[in-house]
Structures are given as C-alpha cells and as structure tokens.
Symmetry: C2
Subunit: 416 residues, 2 copies
C-alpha cells in the first residue's frame, strides 16, 4: 500500500469558494443561512451538490429518506466504503459552516484525489444526511437514526412539521424521495468534519479537535395548563398564570444545569402561548426543553431534578404541567481506532490538536452505534453556532479538510 | 314628566335568547366565542344587530371607524340622546357575555319601551363600539378613544393587525366604514351594562355593581435581545438567553404587583421567540405587559419599580431589554350624578348592590372624559372573563338590563 505524505493537501480556495457558493441558497440579510430541511432552498443546494458530485465522477444515489450518497470507486470493490460527510440543511437562522463544511470538505477530498490521480483500496462515499438540524421535523439527525435502526423509515416519513406537512410529502415535493432502502448503503467506517460549535479550541488556540465522545441528549415536550382570565380584573392571588409557571420552570432548569455543571447544559428553546392577547392571562403554553451531558449519570440526575422541580412549581401554582421525554440519546464514545487515525493525521500534518467532547449531536454519533466512527473539529469564531454570525477561518477549514482526507486515506488505504 | 315604576321590566327570556343567538357568530367548540373585531364573524353579528335595530324602529348609522348607533327618537329632539350599549367583538377565546350583554340589553330596553308604548323626553341611542377588546388591533377601546379625541380617525385607520391588515382595510372588507365622522353623534350621557369580569359581586352575593371608578392602565411593548447560540455547546455561564431573561422579568413583575397589592395587577400576556428551535438558545423575544391600578400614585410606582427591576436583570444577564409605554390610561372617576342614578335604579328595583371599581377598561371609561358616564355591573361565574367558560345567570342579566333601563329612563325622562 502506498503511503501518502503531508505534501498532499486540499485546495483551500476551492473549498472556501464552494462554501460561499452554497451559502447563496437560503442566504439571510444578516449573512447567515435559512435552509430548512426539504424546503425549496434545500432542493437548490441538493441539486447543486448532486451536479458537483457527478462532475467529480461520483455515482450518486438517494435513499428513501432523501440522504444522498456519492460513491467513488476503490480498487477493492468487495470492501464497504469509508464514509465521509455531514449535512447541508441549516437552522432557521443558521450559519454558513454548520454541516456545510463537513459535506463540502468531503467533496473537496474527492476533487483533490481526482486531481492527484489517487485510487484508494476501499471505495469512499461522501454523504449528505437529511434533517440533521431537527428544526423543521423532529427528531434531529432523523435520517442517520433511521439508518442505524432507531426508527423505521415509515415512522420518519410520517413525522410532520408545524404546518402539518409530512416528511414523505416534503420529500416528494422536492423530488428527493430516493429508491434506495434506508440502511442499504454500507460503510466500513465514517468520519465527519465539523465546526466545534463551542468555545474550547479557540480559547486554547488549537486547530484540530480530535473528538472522542459526544454529549447525550434529552428532548422534552412540555405543556402548561393554567387558566385564561382577564388581566385587569383577576386579583394576583387568584391567578393560575401559565407564563409565570413557565418562567419558574425556565429558571429552575437553569439552576439545575448550573448545579450539575460544567458537564451539563439545559435550554428551553420554544414556548408558544395559546391564543395570546395582551390583556389576557396566559392559560396554556407548549414548550420544549433540551438537556445534555457527556455522562449518563448526570443525564439521569437532570431528568430527576427537573421533574421534581416542575412538580413542586405546578402544585404551588395550581396548574397542570406535563413533561414528555420525546428523545433520549445516550452519550457517544467514538471508535478508538478511528479516533487514533484522526489524531495521527493531525500529527502528521503538524497541526495543534486536543481530544474533545462534542457538545452537539451529529450524524456520526448515530452512525457510531453500528460502525466505527469519529469526528474532526475545527474552531469557530467566539464558539458561536446556530446563529447567522457563525464564522470559521479559511485556514482552519482547510486544516480540517486535510485531516479528514488523510484520515480517510489511512482507513481506506491507497492503491499502489 | 311621567314616573315609571318597578313594574316596567324587560323580558328576561327575549334578552337571553338574543345573547345565545349572537353567540353562534364565532362560536367555539368549548362554548365560547371567537369574534375578532372587523373579521367575518364580526360582520355577521353587525348585520344581525343592524337588522334587529331597524326592526325595532331605530335609525341606524355607522361612523368612520365602524361604530354603530341606533337612534330612538324622543319627544324633545333638541336634546342630545342618552347613550347606552357596549361592544360585540370578543377576545380570541372569549365568552358569550363580555360586551354582548351590554349591547343586547340596550336593544332589549328599546324593545321593552316599544312594547310599553313609552316615549322618552330626550332621544336614546344604542351603541356598538368598534374594537373594544384590542386583541386584533391596538389599542383596546380605540373607537371610543377616537370619539373623545385621544387619537385621530386617520391614526386609528392606519393601525395594523399581526397579518399587516389595517383598520381601514378591515372596515372596507366587511363594508362597515361608515359615512359619519367620528365624534359627531353627540350624547348627553352614557350608561354601559357589563359583567363584572371579577370575583367581588359573586363573593359578596350582590346582584348589582354600581361602578364609581375604573382602573388606570399601562400597556408596554417589550423586546429582549440576547444572543442565539447552540443549545448543546454553549456553556451555561456564557449564555445570553432571552427566554431566561423574560422569565426573570415575568416573576419580577408578579412580585412588584403583589407588593403594591391588592390595588395593583400585572400581566405578561404575549411573548414570541424570534425563530424558535428546540436546540437553539432564544436570542430575541418580543413581549407585552399590562399593569393596572385604580390609584394614579400606584401606577407611577409600578412603572418605576418595573423599569428598575428590568434594568438590573438586563445588566446582570448582559442582554438588551427595551420597554416602551404604548398606552397610559389614567384611572376613571365616573360622573357622580349618573352613578347616583344607577344606584337609585337598583334601590327602586329592590336589588342588592354595592359601589365597585372596574378592574377592566371599558368604552364608558373613555366616554366619561367628555360626557357624564356610568356603568352597571352584574356578577359573572367565578369572576371568569376573557375565557370561553365565561358565564352569567339569566336572572342577573335581566336585573342588570332593568337597572340599565330605569337609569336611562331617569336620565332621558319619560314624555307624559
């Protein structure tokens, strides 16, 4: 097997240009991207991606949940390919890099190998997973979750967005309900490059995060039922105010996460008052909650403490509060051999690096349950993500893509 | 002038039937009414009301803001009429009685006088004021406010609802932009019957509230600007969470209202997270706040304490909070002669009664600034209003309508 040294590097300008070219699809006035999964802008970027993959000689296919796979043949087609990639959908007010960097870096790896005339032993396959973000349809990372068997394809197809549109209908409307059954594209390993989406690498001035673990996630749907009444005539002591109840829950959750910190976070991201009016005491509120920790014991403690706090608040305020756990993802421990491969690539390229835990969930965390997987992080400005101000440097993006490429080459092998 | 005794009574069944007949226009599954001002259901009830007024011999005209006036001639047409009535619009999840009782009781008074062949000295004029509720267009009670000169007609016509539709466009779309300039229908006094919308009459087992004052109102529009970021990767101490900020503001407002209680109330009725997503820390929230007291000094204290609390919260959480006072209505002190007339009518009819402060704002509070005005309250079940469960008894509705009728007869005089 041929050894490829650090002189093989991706083209930083080409990678940077593709990132900014796709940022047009759903561009927001503040410089971010709004590209909700399976919407019209997602179709635009998918069409663009398919065309570029085909131009790079890849055989593109799409599975029944719209995930896209671009296969580059290897010398030994009896081996399952090494997968690399991420996702192209964004948050409602997302940035240019989250998911996009990992997907386009995978394309850049293919282009670089093509330009250098390098054939790998195992094939490689670049991926764009459907609905990583979870902001239009729940759960997040649903396509990779279905891939590993956490959900059936039918279940995911029936999930609906806030407007009542199902995943299946959305796929049909943009022409991306593919013919490959979910899970049939096999891999011998998967590597995902991503911005850190947190402040650690930047604070420590490290270029590469060698991701060895990922936080577990608890997602809750909550509902508060108090009593709607007139804002002017209902004495304060007689109120059963759903918003004041939510206020106490939000602050209790914050205090609980702080108490279990620094290895815990908790967020109420959505809260909708039913029939709001400025002179009516809110009677009913739906909300969601997201709690995370890299330690299973802390996740259990968060759940227990939250439920106790909410029960006490509800009883004191004479309101009803329901809290349904709609998703529980255990912490991820990535494959040690692949984590070592990422670390070796960073070392070989002379890049500063450290082991790190992923604060966010990623498709690689799902895939790790059925195949060896690992991730590469690069810093993002001020640790900001899921925000139109999300930013990363051209040099860091290129460094991450180079680590991705050399990790994939080490795993797939280079044909002599 | 002829004296009319307590033997003249309205028809309780006819009044009750009209209340339930109009409750069909915008009826909700839970037994309430959703009849937003100037919407299609409001057109239905307005058409119904116009037809019934004309059938009762009234001359109906509509002013430039859609307020409806049904004039019953008096013997002395040189006198300005005595006005009576209320409003027919409701909250988004409102009840069958708020506003409706006062408007349909006014119609019932006319029908009763017609049946008895009674001519009044001064004319009387029954009114349906546009947009008392304020839940589609702000401010509440805008038509009576424009009537008394607090706003120009043009200003009110340009106000827009959440969908961007202006009052002028809404009036045109239902055909209720009338030809009478606002304020040209003069009155020599105005009496409004209404459910209490609070718990006092029921608790004290009194049938009639002789309303001598009304709470002042402070309406605020607020906006919190924190920073949107990733729910999984942003450590708790680095967050600038707009929802956690709102939570503190809601609880601070509650504490301040309690501290100034029992003569103060405060409510956050609306709160909307910009671009909500379950895995994004809320970065921006718009909210509204409603604070009330019958004492001007307490209103000043509420405003001062709220602003101080919000400034401290914003500074500690490193977020920006703006709080704009969009409406300030001073407390109302109703005309003593008309208040006495209401009390005399209740006494003459042998009904239990007490003086009371209105917790809610009413068109009569606006009108009181340019003419003598007063109100009659009847109990509502559990003090509940602005709620689909709002309820009042047939006997109490009839008692209130009788007090209204005898007050109006005392003010207008009966032709001999």
């Amino acid at each position: 097997m041929t050894q490829i040294g650090s002189n093989l590097q991706i083209d930083p300008e080409r990678l940077w240009d593709t990132i900014h070219e796709t940022a047009k699809f759903g561009a927001t006035p503040k410089g971010g991207v709004r590209r909700l999964t399976l919407g019209p802008e997602d179709k635009q970027v998918r069409d663009w991606f398919r065309a570029r993959c085909e131009a790079a000689g890849l055989e593109v296919h799409v599975d029944a949940l719209g995930s896209m796979f671009g296969l580059r043949k290897g010398r030994d087609m009896s081996r399952a390919p090494i997968g690399l990639g991420s996702h192209l959908d964004t948050q409602p007010t997302g940035g240019k890099f989250d998911g996009v960097l990992g997907t386009l870096a995978a394309l850049e790896v293919v282009r670089t190998l093509n330009d250098a005339g390098i054939e790998t032993e195992a094939p490689i396959c670049i991926c764009n997973w459907t609905n990583e973000e979870g902001s239009r349809f729940a759960p997040a990372m649903m396509a990779s979750a279905a891939y590993v068997g956490d959900f059936t394809t039918e279940d995911i197809l029936s999930r609906r967005d806030a407007a009542g549109v199902s995943v299946g209908e959305a796929l049909d409307s943009i022409g991306y309900r593919g013919d490959r059954p979910v899970g049939t594209q096999k891999f011998s390993g998967f590597v995902e490059l991503h911005i850190e989406q947190g402040p650690i690498l930047e604070a420590e001035n490290k270029t590469i995060g060698v991701v060895d673990s990922g936080q577990g996630v608890l997602w809750y749907d909550g509902r508060i039922t108090g009593f709607e009444s007139h804002a002017g005539t209902t004495p304060m002591p007689l109120r059963r105010d759903a918003l004041a109840t939510l206020a106490e829950i939000v602050l209790a959750m914050e205090a609980i996460a702080n108490r279990h910190g620094p290895k815990a976070v908790g967020t109420v991201g959505e809260a909708v008052i039913a029939n709001p009016s400025r002179n009516v005491i809110p009677g009913e509120i739906a909300f969601t909650m997201d709690c995370r920790s890299a330690e299973a014991a802390i996740m259990d403690a968060l759940d227990r403490d939250l439920r106790a706090a909410i029960a006490a608040i509800a009883a004191r305020r004479k309101v009803e509060v329901t809290l349904d756990l709609v998703w529980r993802k255990p912490p991820t421990h990535f494959d040690p051999r692949l984590v070592d491969a990422v670390e070796s690539a960073a070392k070989m390229l002379g890049l500063s690096h450290r082991r790190i835990t992923s604060g966010a969930g990623h498709d690689a965390c799902n895939l790790n349950t059925v195949m060896p997987a690992a991730m590469v992080f690069v810093p993002c400005k001020d640790g900001v993500s899921h925000n139109e101000l999300e930013d990363a440097s051209k040099a860091d993006c290129a460094a991450g893509a180079n680590v991705l490429m050399h990790t994939v080459l080490a795993l797939a092998g280079v044909a002599s």
